[in-house]
Structure formats: structure tokens, C-alpha cells
Symmetry: C2
Subunit: 367 residues, 2 copies
């Protein structure tokens, strides 16, 4: 049999991928988790209006979705004070990153990010044959100065920054991000991942400036809006950049119920405010549980708290595994020195009760 | 301002795309359609079990979907008598074609298809920079001999065949497809689009042969299963080809409710049989309505009937527009000589009543 005629890019990619969901872990363990605190989902759920919209529209699922995502884009544009032409909707930020990679990355194209930052961005860049260039976190923050210097040195086409950051929960004030944007090379496009933006303190998100073709901002209904399973996110940018998405995206990619649910969720500010309040309280409690057990909580502007286990990555991995064995799904950063930590998503009271209950034994088991 | 640094492939793509949904037409017209018969959707809807599954699972939408599509793949594998490793699930066949293009097509890679065949396949190939090579339909059928000769002459990496065919409704018996497969060049991969396979007469779909790495077969929950809005389809192939999808696909692309709904729909054979019966009856009625108005129905193995208007493309376009003006959404093939026809999806009685009511006036208006 001749070899499968995959492209050279595909032939060069690893066959293992970093996407192991909690469901796969549950299947392997033969046992459900008691607390699902690893994927920064919103256990507080979507707006009841979104759930009602899904149930009401379920029977319409025989129809294809609107490929223009018209109603959702209109609502987003009105809410954000920009034009629909400044917005593209996609199958989660992951899906949008895939399109971005195909729009801007050719084999060998340099792309700048931080060592340990969001792996799916890297996955999508690699899938287009890009060359990933990284710079370390500084004090558990992605470092704008290092990233800029790297982008200039390498001639990066894309620069990734998450604000607030995942997996560390750290964040920069808007002025810092704006200064980064001012200093961006002309042909470098900032991919500003604001998936956790709704949880951040006022003054974190820079005002929108859709006149600047060097900035794409990514937001999602997966986090504060509690619709991770629906797969719907959007990118905001200059109209001439956004227009590029329509040239290659899967136009019918965002499913019908996701569009309906996101639209309803967007209209429920009271639910959003409630979720943000619950998340803030949950962060405080995770931090307190951590402290009570000798772990140092990092400040967080997201819907999770990263807990410094105080030793090396091998130790934190043992803590993580001991938690998983005790039916608590958590995750941890992938590279040193970030991997001295575990990352715990904001849970409801019952979830955090379980975490509080099993953490001492997990730490003891980890040695 | 410097030009946006899109890749050369993207720069070379048209900014207009063929994806105008009925919703966009309704917005432009300022009026809803009375009958939605243009997108080969299943107005008969999904299984009630699928709707119940969606409603039951709606509140779980705060969780990400299973990136492995495990349960659905297991059920498909059991039903089809193959292994889960021979199946990949994606965001509709359109989404799967996007992944296929990225797996196999580089700038300039030749790809063979029929002139007037499924445009989204072409769109995805173009999005990877491929070079589309076409051969005409013969007697309103995609022609295996011509396609093979073209693939050999051009050294095509991919060969597209839809069986049954969209937009013409024609089909080949399994033996013809198997003969095409036997004669495929070693490095040419057949993309066998069986989106309409459930509607075809027995003997149309070749038996599955997942040992052959030169064949990928595409099936969907959008047609007979009535879940077009959910965006879920699958490809069947040799394990080493299917494994390639995991290297680049959007692992979290198929939303949670789609997975749940497809699984439930797959288990309701009685509903599927009922839909197939309704579609057969609707085909007969569309053909009869066409004949009564002087249009010649083409034989169809799909959930639509293509009606030959008996003159040129300009005339058929006028008929189409006259139907749309009368609130009947239909479509038509895009290229000559196929474009002498209009294409009418199998509708429910009320839909076809509207079609029957307005067709005489539409034909009169078309002149």
C-alpha cells in the first residue's frame, strides 16, 4: 500500500493531541467525577432564557442554521457599539483560531506566544505549518515587552495574548494592552483572547477600536454565558480583516440552537451579573481552601483560581492525580515553572465542598 | 495603512461566496417564505426522540462537548459493523470537506470533480489553494469514466462523486461505484458523498470497505435524520486516513446537543423509515405537479426532484425567481446545461400545496 498522500504539513504533525476531555477520563476510570472543576466551564449555567430558547427552537432543527449568523451579529453589534461588519461568529474561539491560522499562516510563518499559553492556539498555528516562537511568562504573567521583542525579532505575523490569562488567571490593565498595541509592528496582528473578559475588573479590557487592522479580539459564550457545549464565539476586528473570514470559514458551522441560545443569553444581563458574582465568591472560597491547606492562590481575574503547590511540576502532577483519583476533575499548566500549580475552576457550593473535603487527603497522598 | 497580511491563497480567493440562506432572502424581501423547499432539508423533522434528547440535555450545555464524539461513534460503528477508528465526526459534511482539503490539498494540488457538482466541496478545495479540474455531467449524471480519465490525466489527489447526486438527483448502482474504486489511481482519494444515501434504492450504496485507504465516504444527519441545524456528519474510511483528521480538526467543533440528538436519531429506525416513505411520496407529487405544468421531472434517488424547465438557464432562472416572489424557496443548478432545471425539495403536504398553487402563475410570469 502506498503511503496516505497527506500534505507535508500534516505528515509533520504529531498524532497525539492535547484534547482529553473529562468524559474520556470518566470512561477510562469507569466512574463519574463528583466535581467538574477542570475546564473552566460555568457550572452556574446559561441564562434560563437561553435554555427556554433552545427548547422552543429544538423542533426547528430540521432547518439549516443562518450562515450569516445575522441576528446574533446584529445584537452583538448593538451591544458593543460597532457594526456587524466588525464581527465574525465561529464554532468557539478554537474554531476561530483555526480560521485565523488559515488566513495568516503559511508553512514557516513565525507566530509569537508565551511558553505555556493556550495550547489550542498553538495547535491551530501548527496545523497551518506555522513556526511557533515563545517567550516565558514573567511573574506568572504573559509579558508584553518580551512578546513584542520576540515578535519584532522573528517577524511574527501573529502575536497571541490572553487577557485575563489562562492558565494563570493573571491580567493586565487596559493601558498595558493599549501600549502593546501602539508598539505592534505594522504587519503583526495581535490575537487578543478575551474569553474570560467578563470576569475581569473594570479597566482590564481596552475600549474597542475597530479602525485598527492589527488587532483581533476573541470573545465567547463558553465562559460567563455558560454555553460551552453550544460552540459559539466571536471575533471583533477591522471590517477588512473580518471580511477575510468569509472567504474560508465553514459558513454553516455555528449550529442553529447555538445562535438562538447565544442571542437569548446576550439579552440577560441580570443572569450574567449573577454569574459574575457567584464566580467571584467561588474564587474567594477556592483561595481560602487552598490557603487552609498550605497552597498559595494566585490572584485571578478569570473563573478559576490557580493554586501554587509550592514545589515542582512532578509534585503538582501528583496532587492533580490524587484529586482526580478522588473524583475531582482539575487541570494544571503544562510547562515549567507554571506547572508548579493546579488550576481549579469556579464551582458551585456543592462542588467546592467536595474539593474542600478531598484536598487534604490528596495532598497527603502526593507526599 | 499596509495591506492586511493574508496568505497568498486567501488573497486570491473571491470575496463573494455562494452561501445565501433562505433567512437572508427573507430579510431582503421583508417577508417570510410560505414553503421552504430549496435546501433539501427534511421538513418531516428529526425523530421525536432526538427532540426529547435535546430538551433533556439543554441544561447540560454549560459543559463542553465530548471532543471524541465517543458515544455517537460507538453507536455508528455498531450500526455499520465497523470500528470507531474508521469514523470521524464533524460539523456537517461541509466541515468535514474543509478538513479533507487541509489534509490533502496544497497550493496547486489537482482535484477532480464534475462541472456543476457540490459547490462547497469546491469552496473548501479552493480555500486550501487546490486546482479544481472538472468534467461535464453526462445525461444529468456525474460520469465515472470521465472523472477517472480526468483524475488520471491531471494526477488528481482527490476525486469527488456524490451518489445520489445533488443537484440532479441521479444515482449509480453500487457496481458502477465499485468499478470506479477499482480503477482509482493509487494516490487518488475518492470523496464519496452519500448525504442522500438513505433515500436511494437498495443496491445504490456499495458495501463498506474500510480496508481501502483510497475511499472516504461522507454521511450526514442533515438530510434523512432531519437535523440540518445541528451540524453533525461523519466520514468513514481506513483507520490510517481517519487518524489524520485528529491532527488538525477542531476537536470541540461538534456541539453537545448535536451529539446527543444524533445519537437518539440514529436509534429511531421507525422514524427514519417513515421519513423515507414521506419523501418518496413527496417526490411523486412534485413530479406530478411538474408534469401537469409542462415540466419534466428527472428521476431522483434523493429528497428532492429536479424539474427540467425545457429551455435555457435564463428561463429556469426566471421560473425560480417567480417562485421566490410567490414565497416559495427553491434553488437551481448553477451551470449549463444543468441550469435548465429547478430543484424542489420534498415537502410536507402543505408545502407542496403552496408549490402547486403558485407554479402556474410563476411559469406564466417567466414567459
Amino acid at each position: 500500500m502506498p503511503p496516505i498522500p497527506f500534505t507535508p504539513i500534516v505528515q509533520g504533525l504529531p498524532s497525539t493531541v492535547p484534547f482529553v476531555g473529562p468524559e474520556a477520563q470518566e470512561r477510562n476510570r469507569g466512574r463519574k467525577f463528583r466535581a467538574r472543576l477542570g475546564a473552566n466551564e460555568s457550572v452556574f449555567g446559561p441564562s434560563p432564557k437561553a435554555l427556554a430558547a433552545i427548547r422552543d427552537a429544538a423542533a426547528e432543527n430540521w432547518k439549516y442554521c443562518d450562515p450569516e449568523n445575522h441576528d446574533l451579529k446584529q445584537a452583538l453589534a448593538a451591544k458593543l457599539g460597532i457594526a456587524p461588519a466588525n464581527i465574525t461568529v465561529g464554532e468557539g474561539i478554537d474554531g476561530l483560531f483555526g480560521t485565523v491560522a488559515r488566513l495568516f499562516v503559511e508553512p514557516g510563518t513565525p507566530v509569537a506566544t508565551s511558553l505555556g499559553a493556550y495550547p489550542t492556539f498553538n495547535y491551530q498555528v501548527a496545523g497551518s505549518g506555522g513556526r511557533l516562537c515563545t517567550t516565558p511568562y514573567v511573574n506568572d504573567c504573559e509579558d508584553p515587552d518580551s512578546l513584542l521583542a520576540l515578535a519584532k525579532k522573528e517577524g511574527a505575523r501573529l502575536l497571541y495574548l490572553s487577557n485575563p490569562d489562562n492558565p494563570m488567571g493573571s491580567w493586565w490593565l487596559a493601558e498595558v494592552v493599549q501600549e502593546l498595541i501602539r508598539r505592534l509592528p505594522e504587519t503583526c496582528l495581535l490575537c487578543l483572547d478575551e474569553a474570560y473578559g467578563e470576569f475581569a475588573p473594570a479597566g482590564t479590557l481596552p475600549p474597542l477600536d475597530v479602525a485598527d487592522p492589527r488587532v483581533l479580539r476573541f470573545r465567547t459564550f463558553s465562559k460567563a454565558y455558560g454555553l460551552a457545549g453550544a460552540r459559539v464565539a466571536y471575533a471583533i476586528g477591522a471590517a477588512e480583516v473580518i471580511a477575510g473570514f468569509d472567504k474560508i470559514r465553514n459558513h454553516f458551522g455555528v449550529n442553529r440552537l447555538a445562535q438562538v441560545a447565544a442571542l437569548a443569553a446576550l439579552g440577560d444581563d441580570a443572569h450574567l451579573a449573577w454569574v459574575i458574582g457567584e464566580v467571584a465568591a467561588a474564587r474567594d472560597r477556592i483561595a481560602a481552601i487552598g490557603r487552609a491547606n498550605g497552597l498559595a492562590p494566585l490572584p485571578s481575574a478569570a473563573n478559576f483560581v490557580t493554586l501554587d503547590c509550592g514545589r515542582d511540576g512532578a509534585y503538582a502532577r501528583r496532587v492533580l492525580n490524587a484529586l482526580i483519583e478522588r473524583d475531582v476533575f482539575v487541570r494544571m499548566p503544562g510547562v515549567a515553572p507554571l506547572d508548579r500549580c493546579i488550576r481549579v475552576s469556579a464551582g458551585a457550593k456543592a462542588d467546592l465542598d467536595v474539593f474542600e473535603e478531598v484536598l487534604p487527603a490528596a495532598l497527603k497522598a502526593a507526599g
